[in-house]
Symmetry: D2
Subunit: 292 residues, 4 copies
């Protein structure tokens, strides 16, 4: 049978026993089948001396499939980098079914074997680009798979900002912060903050104010091609931040403008054939199974 | 100046003094400008003996613009019928700014004058088609501008049903009912039930369970081209209903399947130039104005 | 060992195989121990010809302990009647742990044996009294263990009413209805409607509007000795209802006043020693167990 | 007419033009009536050279009434200190009606005149005592009028902790933090976080998790005499804080225990006769006025 992928990158959480075990098993299993296997440098040493150790960017350049072992958090980190390359990404979870990591760690061979032979489904998940502008100049930017969050450095400190959609003023807000989430992120932080769930294929963003003072404020869903602009009040006393996926942080000063928009890059997420988003959702959220 | 519209239909709430006054003033003002004016039969008699009285379907056939005087409820009633015709629809509110009725009742002449000369914006709002199927046969169907609601005949009686999106099982639900709403309806009943707001141009639907037993259930936003199927448990003791815009009711029996999908018809909603959806939203929901 | 109870009433869901089996086993087990056992008439025939069949009121008069087999719904029905008598009530659940029925159906002997020897905890749960007043006259009244709900006969029909607390005007409301719940009911319908949880010993009521038009309306917790008055707008077109525990229904007309207050009666709920309300809560709502 | 109060302390926001104007007018008006007036040192210089300048503790010792000019935030700061003294406290708002500051700034004379003659209502609002314990030792403590909040130093960083009520384990939580609020605080931060409103006289606390991972978690109301214990997971990587009324901060380390309980002190809040809590609530939250 012809191979759907040829060069495979392995990525995982460093210094984590469960991940280590699965990576080692994956490395052996793939090498036995004559795949060209590269391993991300932070875990390469754990696997053995002959391992081809590369960094994440090189995996993006050399490989046509990246396998991420770990939780959704590890997938997010890899995805922010790999989305700009022509590479498929699949996740092996570390024990609990994840939204992005759907291969089981102990029995991945059967499902992954089929994927490698071409029996897979592809989903394209769009990313967000966040930019901080000061006095008309872009000061910093970064990408997010899940969400961009404007918030004060300190919790429980109200901030004031205005929100514009495609340069149309939407509202001013006094709140602890503001979440702009992709459909992928709609089951993460945005959901804890009261957001609605957006199915992964939806070309939309959800804006969720965090603890807004105006009780009538509700999450609002806008077209993914909208340009979201948050203008921080010059009156805010303290420093603020834009946080991307809860990992990368952009500093924000009073008076800054934050632009959030759909990135041109899309994550090419690979699932075993028969993948069912709603199955994962029911499983993660404890929703009801079939009645009859 | 050339006319953007030629034949105009007037629609309004019967036996309502404020509406009556505005309709009379509209009729006079339009006739003076030599527009061909038809009046919906339920209000025609109130306006005068020479009025050209027609029914709603005839307004759809004869006119290129319908003016609805009243609240959003009156607009919904007219829109469900007029969406299938090649006609623009504009609303004069009865005192409070509405989401669909944005011309002021006492000073409509200036704004409407410009609209009639072509200075207007057009929005296309999609409708929903709801069908009740029993033993493989379609028993009844109707359209909705805002939402279709599955609910028991009686309040506070839990019902059980399964939800499928494009024939994929999403979840089973024990709840007081289920709302499937358009973006237009997302600021109406769906919002009271905890739904997110969908901007009018979004091609999406929001599904909001009513008082679900499973506390982890949240509103879910799906692509507008999705086929929503609700399968009512055969165990439900009582009769149920599907309600369209809170007005038209389709009877449902235990075991029935309800299909809700985007209708092929779209309402052509006319707004004065410079119309701003967010302005209406802020006004209706008491949201914050500009800070600085 | 001395007996803590002497005359025991058995109550359960009629025509339900699981309940039937447990009732029979209970009847045999108690009779063997020389307890004087009465059985509620709707299930007495199922148990056998020599059974002492009585109605619920007689159980209240004759017995010092009632054992209810079934779900929380069966307990509510029995509790509304038995609260006015000097009797303890304990529940055997029909398979799932209930908030009010905490003895396991298949292994009740050990726990119940200890209860009968005096090793038990007593909780007093207060009830609500609902009255419908018309033109100054009380038209009907009933009690509720969980909640009183004002609602229209038909779902998704907005109603208008004013709310007074101890004759102080609180607010007017346009909503689908209004829930007034006890702490016992705070984990039932009120919770689905967005209410907070009130621990059982709290002398407080929670008022939860159902799908309120005013988005800033929130559940409000008031002292249990407050008199709640709901004044239905004379403008409401249709008939309404007050529903007690979702079972008993009082008819309401436009203009009526509904008074809801704490009843003088309290349910004496018996639990095995070591009963932990939070254990039930975690179990029913899927909350997190101990971390470390 | 006999005087209800004799020695009056004036408190207000320093360097604030509106507050300054009201304080000056108050000082003159009270001195003219021969009241013994002390002024808090941070605003005394603004009022004039002959002013009797004292600190907040001295106001507590010398005065039988304190008048706080400003917003609810200024009242909170004064109340945390004054609650331990035998003194009544009344608030003059700075323009917007506050929950705690209900005298109008421009026409305070009439209402305040009556209060000074004894026509007033007294409310006792309880405070919270928060303590941080480490290895069995109390490290720090403080009081709060509104709420105690456990949170990470940084926003959007999940923390893990266990919650005990009267030493009974309630649940473990992964969340951005936890709010423990008094009835007074139930209309402040707790409300933005989704909490229910507790009327001021209620002897209860509300616990509101902030952005909990477990979607079924809901605000929970417990008796005010409960001892709340939050045990921070030793696994939490970072430093945390307990914030009292958003002003005073207690440092928290992984493994610490936070005890929150009702303080023995109560704020004696003075209102003009006829004060109506629901009136303030409707006004602040935009709730519906009388219908008919």
């Amino acid at each position: 049978m012809s191979k759907a992928f040829h060069t495979i990158g392995l990525i995982g959480k460093p210094h984590h026993p469960g991940t280590h075990k699965t990576l080692k098993r994956l490395h052996h299993w793939l090498t036995m089948q004559a795949y060209d296997v590269y391993v991300e440098e932070r875990v390469a040493a754990e696997i053995g001396p002959q391992t081809k150790s590369v960094d994440l960017l090189q995996i993006g350049e050399y490989c046509d499939l990246a396998i991420v072992v770990g939780g959704d958090g590890n997938m997010l980190g890899a995805a922010r980098v790999l989305a700009r390359f022509d590479i498929g990404v699949i996740g092996v979870n570390r024990g609990n079914l994840g939204f992005l990591t759907d291969l089981p760690p102990d029995t991945f061979e059967e499902a992954l074997g089929k994927v490698l032979q071409g029996e897979y489904e592809t989903e394209h998940r769009f990313l967000l680009e966040s930019e901080v502008h000061r006095h008309g100049e872009m000061k910093s930017s970064n990408t997010a798979v899940n969400e961009a969050v404007l918030h004060p450095g300190k919790i429980a400190h109200m901030i004031e900002f205005e929100v514009y959609i495609d340069d149309k003023f939407m509202y001013s807000q006094r709140a602890d912060g503001m979440i702009v989430s992709t459909p992928t992120g709609s089951t993460a932080y945005s959901l804890s903050a009261g957001g609605a769930i957006l199915t992964p294929n939806l070309e939309a963003l959800i804006l969720v104010p965090m603890f807004p003072h105006t009780l009538s404020c509700r999450p609002i869903v806008v077209d993914a091609c909208s340009i979201i602009k948050l203008v921080v009040s010059p009156e805010n006393g303290d420093a603020l931040e834009v946080s991307c996926d809860g990992h990368v942080t952009l500093p924000v000063l009073p008076g800054d403008e934050i632009i959030v928009r759909r990135s041109k890059e899309r994550l090419r997420l690979i699932h075993p054939k028969g993948y069912n988003y709603f199955h994962v959702l029911r499983n993660k959220l404890g929703w009801g199974s079939k009645l009859f």
